[in-house]
């Protein structure tokens, strides 16, 4: 719940301390009901905005908060003197301004009589982090999850620029050579079934990517700590440098690395530890056309390199799990409110 809802509660210049006290009680009384209406609102703002106790008493807003929120009026609800001024600069006050004049009537004795305020409350929750216009650096470790025969593990780094709060464009780079490992299954199958499985080795990869954030959420832990997180979709195109590993005729065949065009799609989850530091896990499928070692050995042309590669290309899906952290630059950002 955002305490901005207090701006919707009309106060009148001529109301005395009694009315002011009544409003304060009403405001406090509304607080838990508003929270209930949101089912489970534990947004950061409900704790932040509830902090200045003085606001309920109609005092001026703390300077720090006034500075942070900028366009927000210093105090639209306090003390009964701010409603007219507030109407010019605050959305919430403007929303309530039209009805405010009708909320007070006089009784038979000419004394003011308060009627029930039935304003519609707009509770706008502030995003925990603004990403638009910021850079995101994302180092990670990547593990192959779908290859039984060889693990193409890699050290990776990504750099994104967020063009909006939900869309980013970026690049990532992966280094595989020296980190890959061949599984024991290959050897076991060769020994038990006399069957060789052609495998490949990766050296490096680089991609241009787009990232979109369709899902976001928050978790609380034991009703104490709150974690903000989001799920994102990522996709792009790039290059991959691979070569076959000679298993059919290793005595003769050797292969050099060559470039492949690779597409990638993936989904990830990012948990915010601070407003500039996150941890993330990402499942990404790197799809490309692989050239594998030829399964046949031509005795007449055994030393001819053109016979070592299979004539057909094979669609290869290298599904990798990235685990790492990201840092947003600049570290801080400013909220902007509509006028």
């Amino acid at each position: 719940m955002n305490l901005g809802f207090r701006h919707d509660v009309q106060t009148l210049k001529w109301m005395g301390p009694l009315a002011f006290g009544l409003l304060a009680v009403i405001s406090l009384g509304l607080l838990p009901h508003a929270v209930r209406a949101q089912d489970m609102s534990f947004d950061i703002n409900e704790t932040e905005s509830s902090a200045p106790k003085g606001k309920a008493k109609g005092k001026a807003a703390p300077a720090k908060e006034a500075k942070e929120t900028k366009e927000e009026p210093a105090e639209a609800e306090g003390g009964g003197e701010a409603s007219a001024e507030a109407g010019g600069g605050d959305v919430l006050s403007e929303l309530s301004a039209g009805k405010g004049k009708k909320e007070n009537e006089t009784d038979e004795g000419g004394l003011p009589r308060e009627k029930e305020v039935a304003e519609k409350i707009y509770a706008v929750q502030r995003m925990y982090v603004l990403r638009s216009g910021r850079f995101e650096l994302a180092p990670s470790m990547a593990f192959t999850v779908n290859d039984q025969y060889v693990s193409h593990n890699a050290l990776a780094a990504g750099l994104n620029y967020w063009v909006s709060n939900v869309l980013a464009v970026g690049v990532n780079f992966l280094w595989y050579q020296g980190i890959e490992s061949e599984s024991a299954l290959n050897f076991a199958v060769r020994r038990s079934a006399r069957l060789a499985v052609p495998v490949t080795q990766y050296q490096l990869g680089g991609n241009l990517n787009f990232t979109y954030v369709p899902i976001y959420g928050k978790f609380e832990m034991f009703n104490d700590s709150i974690f903000q997180w989001d799920t994102y979709l990522v996709g792009g195109v790039g290059v991959l440098r691979t070569r076959p590993v000679a298993v059919i005729d290793p005595a003769v065949r050797t292969f050099d690395f060559d470039w492949r065009v690779a597409f990638n799609v993936g989904v990830g989850i990012r948990v915010f530890l601070t407003k500039w530091l996150t941890v993330f896990g990402e499942l990404r499928d790197y799809i490309y056309m692989e050239k594998l070692e030829s399964l046949t050995v031509s005795l007449a042309q055994r030393g001819e390199p053109t016979t070592w590669i299979d004539a057909n290309s094979t669609v290869t899906n290298n599904v990798m799990m990235h685990v790492g952290f990201t840092m947003f630059f600049p570290f801080t950002f400013e909220y902007r409110y509509p006028k």
Partner: protein, 300 residues
């Protein structure tokens, strides 16, 4: 694995642990400095308590992952009671309704070769599917720990309550493996191989290729899951579950030699190699009583 690889993995693991543990202090507060009336108040009030003192009855579909030779498609259920909102005790079950051979199994069946050195492991490639190991069932008494509770928005349109949980327990895994081929059988077939050649040895070993034995493997089980509550009494669940245990997935002679993982000329318990078996589960959970309580400050 080379020393460099081990070092790289170790450093990465340490960095990940530090990254997760270090900022935890910061994450605890997430820049919130609570003062005033809400100082000391719980993070959430009027939260639906979906699990406390409720039974969870779940139906699910499970599928094993990264299988070398056979993938099990399973259906099952779970019954769990939650004495608190963050703890559950129950039993998880799954039974295979389909067993799908992997591409490697098809390749061995169609292209595998039998020679004198591997006639015990692969008497007849065409019948390889009869000798591979398969998971039939899983029954796992377990404890669930639900530390994280929250909500998520999908495309800014659909908002659901959710929780993240971890679980652990003991799994009794029903599996089918190739039956043991003992010294007596091997000696007889070796004699026929010496006398009549490979074709007679293949005929001798053929009955052992289709002979299977069922057993129950006891294994630790653990994993993580996500529940999305679409109603007060119903949730969609996704789980990842690990079941590490040793078994002979290929039905071949893989180990038992005094030198280590080399064939010893027999099919027996020594050929059961350690596998990090794991699976994914999608389920629909129902909660009883159907109406959850709401939390208030002081009773969480």
């Amino acid at each position: 694995m080379s020393t460099m690889k081990r070092l790289a993995i170790a450093l990465t693991t340490i960095a990940a642990v530090l990254a997760l543990s270090g900022p935890a202090q910061t994450a605890h507060a997430q820049d919130v400095n609570v003062q005033g009336p809400l100082a000391g108040a719980p993070a959430v009030i009027n939260m639906r308590i979906y699990r406390q003192m409720r039974f969870q009855i779940q139906g699910h579909f499970a599928m094993t992952l990264q299988d070398q030779f056979s993938r099990s498609m399973m259906v099952g259920g779970q019954l769990m009671f939650h004495p608190t909102d963050w703890l559950g005790l129950g039993v998880w079950t799954a039974f295979a309704v389909a067993k799908v051979d992997t591409s490697l199994t098809d390749q061995v069946s169609s292209k595998g070769q039998t020679a004198g050195v591997n006639v015990l492991s692969l008497p007849n490639p065409a019948n390889f599917t009869q000798q591979i190991g398969r998971i039939n069932s899983v029954i796992a008494p377990q404890v669930a720990f639900i530390p994280l509770r929250g909500k998520l928005g999908i495309f800014e349109k659909l908002f659901v309550d959710a929780d993240l949980y971890a679980f652990g327990g003991v799994a009794f895994v029903g599996i089918t493996e190739r039956a043991n081929v003992d010294d007596k059988q091997v000696s007889a077939c070796k004699a026929r191989f010496a006398a009549n050649g490979l074709s007679d040895a293949i005929a001798c070993y053929a009955p052992t290729q289709s002979a299977t034995a069922d057993r129950t493997a006891v294994a630790p089980t653990f994993g993580i899951g996500l529940s999305m509550f679409f109603a007060d009494f119903m949730a969609f669940t996704m789980e990842w579950r690990a079941l590490p245990f040793s078994w002979n997935t290929s039905g071949t002679d893989e180990s038992g030699h005094p030198r280590g993982d080399y064939p010893d000329g027999k099919i027996n318990e020594s050929d059961r190699l350690a596998h990090f078996n794991h699976m994914i589960t999608f389920g629909l959970a129902f909660y009883l009583p159907t109406k959850p309580k709401l939390s208030t400050a002081g009773n969480e």
